[in-house]
Symmetry: C2
Subunit: 646 residues, 2 copies
């Protein structure tokens, strides 16, 4: 009586365990009447989680987000709403103030921008009073007009770098620095930005603060319409773009424009399988003491034939920097008077190298600022913002490919297993309110578990990871609220076998406690701890006292023997007196694909029944007995009316 | 207690009924030791099905293919096998003779070609003696060297038109006419054929035999590497190509080459959903008295991100002819010395129109044969074989899109329903030995049924439709054998409701016979027949004598009430005394997702239980009672040892 579910199909790794919403008691925050909890910001020092929603900002206790510390509202005036509605927008949904920028400005204030009924505005939020200061700065170029439009921003040394659209229609894309002394922006030209969807931005520090040896860079990630490929219809291409923090723009050419804007293609594909992931969904920058350089984890879905497919690719920072600092440029050529084709530029490249940050070498050649750069260099970068080389992922292939899901967000935690091995644990949210936790092992992707964070099946809009000791959580925001989830549910594995088969680097079996415990909650190198990422359960203590349940049944009746387990990868095998019970038959049935029914009981059915779970782990099958029942069928004097069963 | 299975998901129409291999007693043919039954040919007159397999040809009774009439073997000599193996090919698999061409030559002979251990050869098979005549013609260009390479051919008036590869490596593609007096072939040049995979070829007659007003055309269908698009890697493009039967080649330019070879892109996509079906799998030409012109039914899968996706597009012949006879041409332009870009050619086009068949107008201008055509016209068609316009499908979108399947072959039958409406019934074979039968209704695709034709899950390599009265079958060939399946399993629907809900245009409920019958087996306009393709069951006679089953059970026992049905689209709802039983609970369970278990019976459980099937048909829900049980629980004196249930 064997039922296989969760068979291994190409690109269809199945989460080993599914935690339903009711099974995990997650801490939640939701303020009635407030929706679209799309901006999350963690204050590392104060243990405070700031949440930007529609027309509201909240300060929550990061250790227990159900505990609200402060709230501030920023509503649109009726007058503005009316004007917005006049332009054909919905008063109930679009003509409201969606918080899109929530950035730390100083120790005592946040910088907040909202769509403000299609009149984007920014303000300062005082952390002492938790009130808006009412500055009402123009948010154009920092925050989109339309809540449906894409946006990204990062605050760097008090200056906001942002990518969004610059006008009401959303047709003019812009990457800009909002700075009082040196505001900069992109050229409004197809080769610079071609219908982009902004996804992510962050700063990469090159040198300690104050030092000037190498300039910090701000990286932007977006998907845009390709100019270099020609497809049956508009082909989207994921991009990584880079600007230098020290950029001051040009003096004549590229005045108040970036002189350091370069972009390149991000590749994430499996040409052998025809898999092309060309829509970027989210990016996470993994940094850490164990890492020589930051790694960009990028989440993709395909544009083409996507009936549920997602992938994760990881990129080394140095791969991207190599492309920008030494790669070839592309240039456009005109064909037959009317067509344009982008090809590799093989001609001479001016000095200093177009798009480069002002480094020691440039300074030595007396180019101390971008304002000094020669026109030739500036004109070149203006016409050639696109690199010919592309930024390829680590190992030249995706870390994870998953069928039947559209992931929306990703965060990655680098954690050390009991044996010292480092694992990059990927947390991906889905369009249906769930969170997948996965590790990429040598030959396979192991999705440790799936957790239904939200009861409603809405997309998770934002994920935030907190991996500080004693505060290891994933925070997730959706339209309906914010949820705080632990990184692992170790305590839910009740046996040593369960704990080890989970192959969760966060969890180990504690012999003294006889419990599955979270590794980071134990002190020092664990004594009496067992963990085995290969799924070897041999270190588990023998079940000395094999427990079993005894049942008495009447002749002619039906027995139900239960076999509870959580693994979606396991095959249930029922044994009777050590012989495997085969296939569904008039004698046996399965309920819920695991519990055994025995019909029309007779004396011959008395004996020992065992439920075995068989699971494939790294190409070998491991099995464990999860339930043992002893059945005794008693012959009773036949009742006058004989029972009939169909 | 309601279980939904087969919910409506985008592009995931579920076959309403699944017939397992054991449920349908199909007539089969298989000769032990013979494999790869890849060529099927039906003789309409003799009711004979010819089957080409590896090293063998069979003649079977088309009405009962298990009845073998003749067999002929064509084995590779040991000498040839050894030579083939020397070239690095497998002696056991590749160095054999795979029959790839099986075409009617005359009333008394077939034309047969085989790979012949990488030395393709052709021979004549006498139908009187059923023996090969031993001609041993060179099969180069008619049949591939490698059994893994693609091929297609059609016999037109005694001359074989074929598309395949011309050399051992399979690197030189060719579309040719093998004719003693006028052999013709394609140029060996990328613009003509670029790594094609040949799929199908057929002749379209323009005028009655003998008449010369308009020339017959031979159409070729294949997938090749695109020259007009530039993608991240080699992009495949499905093509339709055309040559004229009267083509004689050029006199100097294009000597012994086609002067009428033109090709165009076939489009089958849904740009709004990013769906691009660019790998052609099979083509079927639907002709018929009810049709003004032939319709090409083409089966596609995507090259990109195909984790199981197929589509069917239908094209009018006139759409293709319009492109070839009046469309713009493409031409290549050189960019920056090294790149090529194909763009629309807008310059002057020579007269007569390049690639056109010799028609009345050409003859009037004294161009009586392609040998007379001016050099300008020939040079133009040599350089411009690709049209700029593409051949678009009927309604500009796919007829069917199906997730989680890779279809391999298609045949289409145009059949008249009881109310006179014509339906194009599509039969598609899968990679796993099954056949899907579907009709495209106004707003939805209805997959009437799925039949497991072969026990093993191997791809079906070839499908052949016979829709002659009294011989309506689909023949399917796979590696292991040939199967003969009826077009419908009407008789398997046991009730009027079942028969109507099947929405099978072949089936109707016969009131006099009280049975579901095949329409085409009844004579004339049926009296007492009911059919309703909208799923309306109101015409079914009232179930006057509602049958039910009575059961007696003991107090404390478990009852199982059965509810059998075949519909994958139905939702099972159990009612007790007219109230719906809700959700799984300690009291109730479901076996096999349909049969009801009632645990721990007490007097209160006595009463009437009904199993209802709810099914969505065209956006409304229809329901029917499929089982009715009357349960009586009797209180018995308690036995000494009380039964305990976990």
């Amino acid at each position: 009586l064997a039922v296989v579910f969760g068979t291994a199909v190409a690109f269809a790794p199945v989460p080993r365990i599914t935690w339903e919403h009711e099974e995990v008691q997650l801490v939640q925050f939701h303020k009635p009447g407030i929706y679209n909890y799309s901006a999350l910001l963690l204050s590392e020092d104060q243990d405070t989680l700031y949440v930007g929603a529609r027309e509201a900002v909240f300060a929550l206790n990061a250790l227990d987000i159900s505990e609200k510390q402060h709230e501030a509202y920023w509503k649109v005036s009726e007058d503005k709403k009316a004007k917005c509605a006049e332009k054909g927008k919905s008063k109930q949904t679009e003509c409201l103030n969606y918080i899109r920028v929530l950035q730390p400005l100083s120790a005592t204030s946040l910088y907040v921008c909202g769509t403000n009924a299609f009149q984007p505005a920014c303000d300062h939020l005082s952390l002492t009073t938790f009130q808006f200061l009412g500055r009402s700065e123009d948010g154009k170029g920092r925050c989109p007009f339309d809540p449906a439009h894409s946006y990204t921003s990062v605050m760097v040394d008090g200056e906001l770098y942002s990518g969004t659209s610059y006008n009401f229609l959303g047709s003019e894309p812009i990457i800009s620095r909002n700075s009082s002394h040196s505001p900069l922006r992109t050229e409004y030209a197809i080769p610079w930005l071609n219908e982009p969807s902004f996804v992510f931005a962050d700063v990469i520090r090159k040198s300690p603060e104050g030092a000037e040896a190498e300039d910090d860079r701000v990286y932007f990630f977006f998907t845009e319409v390709s100019v270099e490929y020609e497809f049956i219809f508009k082909l989207l291409i994921p991009r990584i773009a880079r600007v230098c923090k020290g950029d001051q723009g040009g003096l004549r050419t590229l005045q108040k424009k970036w002189t350091s804007f370069l972009k390149a293609r991000l590749t994430c594909s499996r040409p052998d399988s025809g898999l092309v992931f060309n829509v970027l969904r989210d990016v996470f920058v993994l940094r850490g003491p164990g890492l020589r350089e930051p790694v960009f984890y990028a989440l993709f879905t395909p544009q083409l034939n996507n009936v549920g497919l997602s992938a994760v690719c990881a990129y080394n920072l140095s791969t991207a920097e190599e492309v920008f600092s030494r790669g070839k440029y592309m240039q456009s050529a005109t064909v037959e008077q009317s067509h344009t084709k982008w090809v590799r530029y093989n001609g001479p490249v001016p000095t200093p190298r177009p798009g480069a940050c002002i480094d020691a070498e440039a300074r030595a050649a007396n180019y101390t600022s971008s304002l000094n750069l020669p026109d030739k260099t500036l004109q070149f970068v203006k016409d050639h913002p696109l690199m010919d080389d592309s930024v390829t992922p680590i190992d030249n292939r995706p870390r994870l490919i998953k069928k039947d899901v559209n992931y929306t967000q990703i965060v990655v935690d680098r954690t050390r297993a009991l044996d010292g091995t480092l694992y990059d644990v990927m947390f991906m949210s889905t369009e249906r309110g769930a969170l997948h936790k996965a590790v990429s092992l040598e030959s396979e992707v192991h999705i440790i578990e799936e957790t239904q964070l939200f009861q409603d099946l809405q997309p998770i809009q934002t994920l935030l990871l907190s991996s500080k000791k004693g505060r290891r959580f994933v925070y997730a925001g959706s339209n309906s609220g914010v949820v705080q989830a632990p990184l692992a549910f170790c305590g839910k594995h009740s046996s040593c076998e369960d704990c080890l088969l989970a192959r969760d680097p966060y969890c180990a079996w504690s012999l003294p406690e006889a419990a599955c415990v979270a590794l980071h909650q134990t002190e020092g190198p664990g004594r009496g701890l067992i963990q085995d990422m290969s799924g070897d359960m041999s270190a588990c203590p023998d079940k000395g006292k094999e427990s079993f349940r005894q049942h008495f049944f009447k002749h002619g009746g039906t027995a139900e023997l239960r076999c509870s387990h959580k693994s979606n990868l396991a095959r249930v095998v029922w044994k009777f007196q050590n012989g495997v019970l085969k296939a569904e038959s008039p004698k046996y049935g399965l309920v819920g694909r695991r519990h055994l029914l025995i019909f029309n009981l007779s004396e011959g059915d008395s004996g020992v029944y065992q439920c075995l779970l068989e699971e494939r782990v790294r190409n070998k099958t491991v099995s464990q007995v999860v339930a043992k029942h002893v059945l005794e069928v008693k012959l009773l004097p036949r009742p006058p009316a004989a029972p009939t069963s169909p």
